[in-house]
């Protein structure tokens, strides 16, 4: 390889890195102009997550039935549906907890999520908040965020790990975003339910994921906390892609602001998709929610 070619490659790589932030807004350019690295999702086509005919069955019961779903880069999408519609199973499939019987799941246009394990999926940039808040109860709030910080996840690195000043700043910043600055030294197990939810969201932010999956993020929160959560999620839109599964229609209305798409799941596939008011007016949706 000639030095010119190497120089050219390095330039392309630098440019790619400089434009990474832009990619959130679509950042489309001709496919041959971009350098693709193995562990980086390529969002060139504007699609962050693509579920293609995904089917999952448990003992004959189809939890997901040929589900198709596409989430755009930087999009905030709300997903609703009655109990047993397959919302949590869908998240399990995306994060590698459940393997589908058929179908494909890709992140960006180059990463096949079905080939990766849970921790590898987290490493390529997908963060997940569970329905029941799961934080590390014995550790302090600060330590919880520290573990989630994006650094080398290896055993050897963990033995010599020291927090750099800027990393400490990032943790402090996240602490104030999730309104837990005063509780930094508190044991996470002693937090209220709503605070645990916030801490878990904070841990996701520390991971700096490209795609956030949130399973009922406001369950058990007070009205005020719910409102603050909605505000927080809206500030993340654009920088990250978000998928929010929620039962609380008021919250769905708050985060979609009458202009973002809502997807309705029913019996493992998409029943309707569109603005909340249109979806709510859809007869089939009304039927599913209220029964015949």
């Amino acid at each position: 390889m000639t030095p010119e070619l190497m120089e050219q490659g390095a330039r392309a790589r630098r440019e790619h890195e400089a434009h990474e932030a832009e990619a959130a807004s679509g950042g489309r350019s001709a496919a041959f102009g971009r350098v693709v690295t193995a562990k980086e999702p390529d969002f060139g086509t504007g699609v962050a997550l693509y579920l293609d005919d995904v089917t999952v069955s448990f003992d004959g019961f189809k939890a997901l039935n040929a589900l198709n779903l596409m989430i755009g880069v930087g999009e905030l999408r709300a997903i609703i549906g009655p109990n047993g519609a397959g919302k949590t199973t869908m998240m399990d499939v995306i994060t590698g907890k459940t393997r589908p019987d058929a179908g494909g799941v890709s992140f960006g246009q180059n990463i096949d999520l079905l080939r990766l394990r849970e921790n590898e999926i987290a490493e390529v940039g997908i963060g997940r908040k569970f329905q029941k808040p799961t934080v590390f109860e014995a550790l302090s709030v600060f330590e919880n965020l520290e573990l989630a910080l994006k650094t080398d996840r290896g055993v050897r690195a963990s033995l010599v790990h020291r927090l750099a000043g800027e990393q400490r700043d990032r943790i402090e910043q996240t602490l104030s975003t999730i309104h837990l600055s005063d509780s930094a030294a508190r044991t996470a197990g002693l937090l209220s339910h709503g605070q645990k939810q916030w801490l878990e969201i904070g841990m996701l932010l520390m991971q700096d994921p490209r795609l956030l999956l949130l399973d009922e993020p406001v369950a058990g929160m007070t009205d005020e906390e719910t409102e603050r959560t909605a505000e927080l999620l809206l500030t993340l839109e654009g920088k990250h892609s978000l998928v929010v599964v929620e039962h609380d229609m008021k919250f769905v209305d708050q985060i979609t602001e009458g202009r973002r798409k809502v997807t309705v799941l029913h019996e493992g596939s998409v029943l309707a998709e569109g603005l909340l008011r249109d979806v709510q007016a859809d007869e089939r949706v009304v039927e599913v929610y209220l029964g015949r």
Binding site: T95, K97, R117, E118, N119, I121, A122, E123, G127, R128, F130, T134, V135, F136, E137, A138, L139, E143, E146, L147, A148, R153, G154, V155, S158, L159, V160, H161, E200, M203, Q207
Partner: protein, 353 residues
């Protein structure tokens, strides 16, 4: 200015390294301050147990994985040391042969292949680490990769130690069958029962215990330790945060097994015998009991627990031998019900109120 912790560590080192040898060797036997050989031997034995309890705490107390098979690692380390000690007997055995007595008894003419390098102290010392470490690595790799957790893991570890015990019971395995190894005469050419040798072994054991305590403290204090605790509390969250729990579990599992192997190697020359009963499931459960009684999740706890339970055991078995097991059972139930943090937790609670 030294912290309270480093003063305590230094104190422990002075105790085992200076005070006990002085009281045992220099103070005449009639004096009130004299420490009898019996007490020194007992403390040495319990220090070996304390190392096991500490190892158990790392895997159970901090990582949430209860192993009931740690006896196998302890015994393997002990057997590796025992093989060397058997060769050190030389011609002084009952049959005056080149071969260890049990081989003569079985009418073997040559050493089996796995005894080939057993007269080398350093080779056998390497085996003290390699054999338990390798077994732990292979077993742990498959168990953790298959995501075997909780009570299932505990049962499998118990099966492992039981299987090893049955294997070592067989004469054909070449480890002395159910009699194991005993009648040791020398270590590195020195008579093994001489006061000086015994005291040196005692001091080495004490130093190793303190060293392992410091190692455990370092591991737990690093981010590594926080990941272990995170695995204990919410393994799925650890995975979805991007950590590979298998690597962490395997690392601490192997470290824990190595510590037990070293404890076994220190135990055998001081107690003078190793046989397959060290691998019995009951032996593995006892290690867990020391750890629970002292206090899981605190590094001092398991050491305190090993001393408390074994001290009680030697007192009880002298006074009311037939009641010991009842007492042990009652103690375990009482600790589980009333002292989830163990004895150390009790002290902490007292000092707070």
């Amino acid at each position: 200015m030294m912290s309270r912790h480093s003063i305590a560590v230094l104190g422990a080192l002075l105790l085992v390294g200076v005070l006990v040898p002085a009281l045992n060797l220099l103070v005449p036997a009639g004096s009130a301050l004299h420490l009898s050989d019996y007490v020194v031997g007992l403390v040495a034995k319990i220090m070996c147990y304390a190392i096991c309890a500490l190892a158990m705490d790392l895997i159970w107390g901090f990582t949430g994985i209860l192993s009931l098979g740690h006896g196998v690692f302890f015994a393997l380390g002990g057997y590796a040391m025992g093989m060397y000690l058997m060769r050190q007997i030389g011609h002084d055995g009952n049959y005056g042969s080149d071969l260890p007595d049990f081989m003569v008894f079985l009418d073997w003419k040559t050493l089996p292949w796995h005894w080939a390098l057993s007269d080398s102290f350093w080779f056998q010392m390497a085996m003290v680490l390699v054999v338990p470490g390798l077994l732990a690595f292979v077993f742990g790799f498959f168990a953790f990769r298959s995501r075997i957790k909780g009570v299932y893991f505990s049962i499998i570890t118990q099966a492992l130690t039981y299987a090893a015990m049955l294997l070592f019971f067989r004469n054909e395995t070449g480890f002395g069958g159910n009699n194991g190894f005993t009648d040791f005469k020398r270590i590195l050419g020195h008579p093994i029962t001489a006061p000086g040798t015994r005291m040196l072994l005692f001091v080495v054991t004490g130093a190793v215990l303190v060293g392992f305590y410091l190692l455990a403290r370092w591991l737990v204090g690093a981010k590594f330790g926080r990941v272990l605790m995170a695995i204990r509390d919410a393994e799925s969250r650890v995975m979805f945060t991007g950590y590979d729990p298998i690597a962490y579990k395997l690392a601490i599992w192997v470290i824990s097994a190595l510590m037990c192997g070293v404890a076994g190697a220190l135990y055998v020359p001081q107690v003078g015998i190793i046989n397959p009963s060290e691998m019995s499931p009951a032996a593995g459960i006892e290690i867990a009991i020391w750890c629970a009684v002292g206090g899981r999740g605190s590094l001092v706890g398991p050491i305190v627990g090993a001393f408390f339970v074994n001290g009680a055991k030697s007192w009880f078995t002298q006074m009311f031998p037939e009641f010991w097991l009842y007492f042990l059972g009652a103690l375990f139930i009482a600790v589980t019900l009333f002292l989830p943090q163990g004895l150390v937790g009790l002290v902490k609670r007292r000092s707070r109120s």
